[in-house]
């Protein structure tokens, strides 16, 4: 008899709770995949941490019209095949409302056909432009990216070269998707700024010595050297440039402003110039800069509340996941999570003031940032200095 009562009570509870569950705000799932291991893990891991930070912030502030966000995190290991599999899993079995990531241009290109086919908006944090280039690279109806376009970084460098009257440049680029993307942009934009590329070399991102390529560059005697790669290879190029006593100034791409770059390249980093998000020189920005408030809030949360800087000091990439998730969340607040409506709302983002720039998206421009979102920084005495 007792047992029957217990069972009845249990069943009653089950019934009550199961009836109550939907009322207690079902979370909205967002798929998030980054390089948590593999060659870009030093970029992918902090991106994931920032994503968790933003989601917590949004949920603490009431979520999306009362419903909390829930991140479904996965590791693509920097492998395009794995990235494609994860994109499939997110869209087919997890049924996420939107996706953030991946980290690398190559993995982004692998995931793109799947999100396009499954019609799920994907805000990528990849460096290369090809994911939103259209044309022979396929449609980008559902694909967005938060980091600046390669062309913006190239324009930033070329504007400076033009101002300083430096015309002959040598380029040294990585032989991966990101490096090739940079090389194409450097070559295409050169005539517009009156720059001529007199020597073009490349290297594998895993190479440990680039002196051979730089000897060729040295004998071409350029006015400036532009290197396009992310990770430790950039620091090795800087060291080799110094080792061969190349006097031309070294420009790095917008992927390298990172305290770890100075740690790896040491004295060889002195004087290097690179385009960067304003995040690297937040305290040197004028108070009139509309982004300053957001950037300082981001730095406060990152360093003082979550203490991520103990393991991953803030670098130029840190804000991209913040901006991607915020733009998706803002669109959800406005238009709900039905995929077509959500996509249209993301595409209609106008004047969102983020950590990495002020975003205004259009159907043709799924990035939404202009050259005003970047600054040139120079390393002086081991510190990042805003270059006027």
């Amino acid at each position: 008899m007792k047992n029957h009562v217990a069972t009845a009570v249990f069943l009653a509870c089950l019934w009550i709770f199961s009836g109550m569950a939907p009322a207690a705000a079902e979370p909205i799932k967002i798929g998030a995949f980054f390089d948590l291991t593999g060659p870009s893990s030093a970029i992918g891991t902090p991106t994931k941490l920032v994503a968790e930070m933003v989601v917590k912030k949004i949920n603490d502030e009431g979520g999306i019209n009362g419903r909390p966000l829930q991140l479904v995190v996965a590791d693509d290991e920097g492998d395009p095949t794995k990235a494609a599999l994860i994109a499939k899993k997110f869209t087919e079995s997890d049924k996420v409302a939107a996706i953030i990531g991946p980290t690398r241009t190559d993995t982004g290109m692998a995931a793109k056909p799947i999100v396009e086919q499954m019609k799920v908006p994907d805000f990528m944090t990849v460096g290369g432009d090809v994911v939103i280039a259209g044309g022979k690279f396929g449609p980008f109806h559902w694909t967005f990216k938060s980091p600046q376009r390669t062309t913006i970084a190239v324009k930033k460098i070329y504007e400076y070269l033009k101002r300083k009257g430096l015309q002959k440049i040598a380029i040294i680029t990585a032989a991966d998707g990101f490096g090739k993307d940079g090389k194409a942009a450097l070559e295409n934009l050169a005539p517009e700024y009156g720059v001529s590329i007199i020597s073009a070399e490349s290297f594998q991102p895993t190479d440990s010595d680039m002196t051979t390529q730089l000897i060729n560059i040295k004998s071409a005697a350029p006015d400036a050297v532009v290197c396009w790669t992310i990770g430790k290879a950039g620091a090795i190029v800087a060291k080799n440039v110094r080792q061969l006593d190349i006097q031309a100034s070294l420009f790095q791409c917008h992927g390298l402003p990172d305290p770890n770059y100075i740690a790896l390249a040491g004295k060889a980093s002195e004087g290097n110039i690179m385009p960067s998000t304003k995040l690297m020189v937040a305290s040197q920005l004028p108070d009139s800069d509309p982004q300053k408030k957001v950037i300082l809030e981001f730095i406060h949360l990152y360093q003082d509340v979550f203490h991520y800087d103990r393991q991953f000091p803030i670098n130029t990439h840190s804000g991209y996941a913040w901006d991607a998730i915020y733009m998706v969340a803002n669109a959800m607040k406005k238009a709900g999570i039905q995929n077509e409506k959500l996509r249209d709302a993301i595409e209609n983002t106008k004047g969102y003031v983020g950590v990495s720039g002020i975003y205004t998206l259009t159907p043709e421009d799924h990035n939404g940032l202009g050259t005003d979102s970047m600054v040139l920084v120079q390393i002086r005495d081991g510190q990042w200095k805003l270059l006027q």
């Binding site: 290297f203 440990s208 002196t211 000897i215 090795i236 790896l264 040491g266």
Partner: protein
């Protein structure tokens, strides 16, 4: 820049990378000489050398010389653990099984390093500063001279060790025939453990010397191991002098290929030469020709 100066600079650059390949290749040869197996964890020993040095020198601020010794000892202990643990305990002493164990060990070491040291690339300052020396107008880093010197010194000492000392001869005997070595009263297990320590220590030295030039991260071991392995094959697997010649040849080929043909295809060129050598002389340049067809 005149062409001969360019060539000279390419050669210096090739010799520097080549001698690091050589130093790693020697480690492969030592273990091969004792056990007949290929130790795929050799690249991880090199990576661990860099990592321990960073911990002792940069984090714990121990003076460079003592940090160097501590690092070599620590990595030698890792080598000892690998030999005394999984390799000695393995039920089957089939060469293929033992080789697979070293592959597994390399994955485990890589994973643990990622957890313990993190995912960022790291570096340490060079032994004698970072300003290049100019030899005949070509720039050379003092660190490169250290690498040349240590490689040549190591190969000379190892040649004497394996040919002239009792322990060295005993290790070679173990490799030639383990059963007869036991019958001759050689403490086989101790010899195997010793050879793993030696090879791990040498890997650590390579890692310490390499790190200031190339930086080190948890996943650097695979590529280093691959290049070292190719160098060892090119020179003749198991031969100390062959390892050095193979390493330097591979480095110089890469450098000349990148410099004069195309930087995009430098690895292709280097490995094509490796393949050609193996087609013509399968035992490598200085190989003993002990290969048997089965």
């Amino acid at each position: 820049m005149p062409i001969f100066l360019k060539l000279f600079q390419f050669l210096i650059s090739g010799l520097t990378t080549g001698s690091t390949y050589a130093l790693i290749a020697i480690g492969f040869s030592i273990i091969h000489n004792a056990t007949g197996i290929v130790n795929f964890a050799q690249g991880e020993f090199v990576m661990l050398g860099g990592m321990f040095m960073i911990t002792f020198f940069t984090v714990l601020k121990i003076p460079m010389a003592s940090a160097f010794c501590l690092t070599v000892i620590s990595v030698a202990i890792v080598g000892l653990i690998l030999e005394k643990g999984p390799l000695e305990q393995a039920r089957s002493k089939e060469i293929l099984n033992l080789v697979m164990i070293t592959v597994a060990a390399s994955i485990v070491i890589k994973g643990l390093t990622m957890i313990l040291w993190g995912k960022n690339s790291m570096t340490i300052p060079a032994i004698s500063g970072e300003s290049p020396l100019l030899i005949w107008k070509a720039a050379i880093m003092p660190q490169s001279l250290w690498i040349f010197g240590v490689t040549l010194g190591a190969v000379a000492m190892l040649n004497v060790f394996f040919r002239c000392t009792r322990t060295g001869k005993a290790i070679r005997a173990v490799s030639a025939n383990r059963r007869y070595a036991v019958l001759a009263g050689i403490p086989v297990n101790r010899m195997l453990a010793f050879s793993f320590c030696l090879s791990a220590a040498l890997g650590a030295v390579a890692g310490i010397l390499l790190t200031p030039m190339t930086t080190i991260s948890y996943d650097a071991g695979v590529m280093l191991g691959l290049k070292g392995f190719s160098a060892a094959i090119l020179g003749g697997y198991g031969s100390m002098t062959g390892a050095v010649i193979g390493g330097i040849l591979l480095g110089v080929m890469e450098s000349l290929g990148a410099g004069f043909i195309s930087s995009e295809y430098k690895d292709v060129l280097a490995f094509m030469i490796l393949l050609m050598v193996l087609f013509i002389k399968p035992s490598g340049l200085l190989g003993a020709g002990m290969l048997k067809r089965v």
